[in-house]
């Protein structure tokens, strides 16, 4: 925390504040002639009202819950699939091209298909968000396993470690940094796709709140929703970075886990 404070970027924050002030002034003095642009104070006010009415909180919790659930599913499946591909040359031969084909299909295009198959439901939302989060985790786990130094495998062989033990004590710690990068990408994908699914299919969450308020021309409420989505993205990313920084050092200290 203290370190964060010392890294506080005064100039950067000043720029954000200055931009907000400029926006406020421009709307206030009607320099910008746009019918639908609310002033920042109106956006904040609408946000506070929505929080008090409970709509914003419910929507945020819904979107956050979906993104996290999808991410956890993708994490378990993705690491498992990545380990399988990393360890077995046969599995690599059989699956790699299929994985390549599936993962390069633009993920947003799955949303309409998923709506048809799973209906306008939270289940649909979780499925597409997990699908989006899965591939970076698979690819990075595979990359992490391949990057484990041969020396470590030799050590495992000398100690006659069992397969499970070898994965737990050698491969996962060594591959952890890359897996965590994949996990971070996966989490932001899960959030993005959850919001898309809410805009197109599932009438819940922040995505739907933004669309609903846009259609009702309640632009200040819409901007509040957009702001929360942006903050959620930044917060999830920062949380995972902090978690990585905490988790990684003792993962790498040799001997600590044996």
């Amino acid at each position: 925390m203290a370190r964060n404070l010392r890294h506080l970027n005064v100039g950067g924050i000043a720029l954000l504040v200055a931009l907000a002030a400029l926006w406020q002034l421009a709307v206030g003095a009607s320099l910008i002639d746009l019918d639908y642009l609310p002033a920042p104070t109106e956006v904040v006010q609408a946000g506070v009202e929505q929080v008090e009415a409970g709509a914003l909180v419910t929507a945020t919790l819904h979107t956050l819950g979906v993104a996290l659930a999808a991410w956890l599913i993708a994490l378990v499946l993705g690491v498992a699939l990545g380990l399988l591909l990393g360890f077995s040359a046969a599995a690599r031969m059989v699956f790699t091209t299929s994985v390549e084909v599936l993962r390069t299909l633009p993920v947003v295009a799955f949303v309409p298909v998923a709506v048809l198959v799973f209906g306008l439901s939270t289940r649909m939302e979780v499925v597409v968000a997990a699908w989006a989060a899965l591939w970076p985790i698979v690819i990075n786990t595979l990359g992490g396993v391949e990057a484990v130094p041969a020396r470590l495998h030799e050590v495992a062989a000398v100690f006659r470690l069992s397969g499970a033990r070898r994965i737990r004590s050698i491969v996962l710690p060594a591959a952890a940094p890359l897996i965590l990068v994949g996990a971070r990408l996966g989490l932001s994908f899960a959030l993005i796709v959850a919001v898309v699914a809410e805009m197109i299919g599932n009438p819940q969450g922040l995505g739907h709140l933004v669309i609903r308020t846009q259609q009702a021309l309640r632009t200040e409420a819409m901007f509040a929703g957009i702001l929360v989505i942006g903050l959620l993205g930044v917060a999830l990313n920062a949380a995972l970075l902090a978690l990585t920084a905490r988790a990684a050092p003792d993962m790498f200290e040799p001997g600590k886990r044996s």
Binding site: N9, G11, G12, I13, A14, L15, L16, L19, L34, Y36, L37, M93, V94, F95, T96, T97, S98, V99, E100, V101, L102, T104, L105, P106, V107, V108, A109, F110, V111, P112, V113, V115, L116, V117, S188, L191, I192, V195, V196, M199, I200, L206, G207, V210, I211, Q214, T219, M222, F223, G225, I226, I229, G230, G233, V234, N237
Partner: protein, 255 residues
Amino acid sequence: MNVRRQLVRLTGLLPLALLLGAWELLASADDPYFPPPSSWWVAVRRLSELGTLLPAIRATAETFALALAVAVVAGSLLGLAIGALPAMRSVTSPLVEFSRTMPPPAVVPMAALLIGLGRTMAVTVVVFAAVWPIVLNTAEAVRSLPAVLLETARALHLSRRARITKVLGPALVPGLLLGVRVATPLCVIVTLLVEMLTGAPGIGSLLVQAQRNFISAQAFGLLIVVGIFGFLINTGVAALEQRVLRAWPPTARAR
């Protein structure tokens, strides 16, 4: 060796082929949820006969190309400024971080209100989502520019033009291209996204229409069309990148 590699790659398609084969055999022709793959083809063919498929593909391709071009120009300029001026970097970094992590779907309704529906709005949203990898990679390339390169250029009294084409260009272009490679699939995805959310003409809005009319065979078929579209664009951009790197003076390859 090459033949063997191709063979291995083809083996890799086996699970997908088996899945689609089983699907074709097990699904009844009018299954509302999982229509068999043969019906996807029929559905897409019908779209193409109606004359809606090709214009949609063209519209998506145009939005994509325009957005990528703008993103490359704007991103490299911004990246140059951020990389060259440390103060600029620290002042803009919170703004860049926020914009970078801002989920693109949230930008769409905002842009729709402020700019209005249409291609300008679509391109703006796509650029806003895809410009950041180009900015960051260009800035990184500028920052890691070895000082000795600039000093050599000065010692040799190179003209400004020679300095740009012989020193800075070769040193910075690989970083820029790396950013373009990351930005390309993003551009494709966000282009589709804008079309899906606003109904702007393109493959994305065709997909949403298929969903709203419950024509699942068409939705699955269009998903494949989108996949092929994305694949062709990514391969095309990768090929272009290789050409640029090869055409550049040998210093580019030394890096």
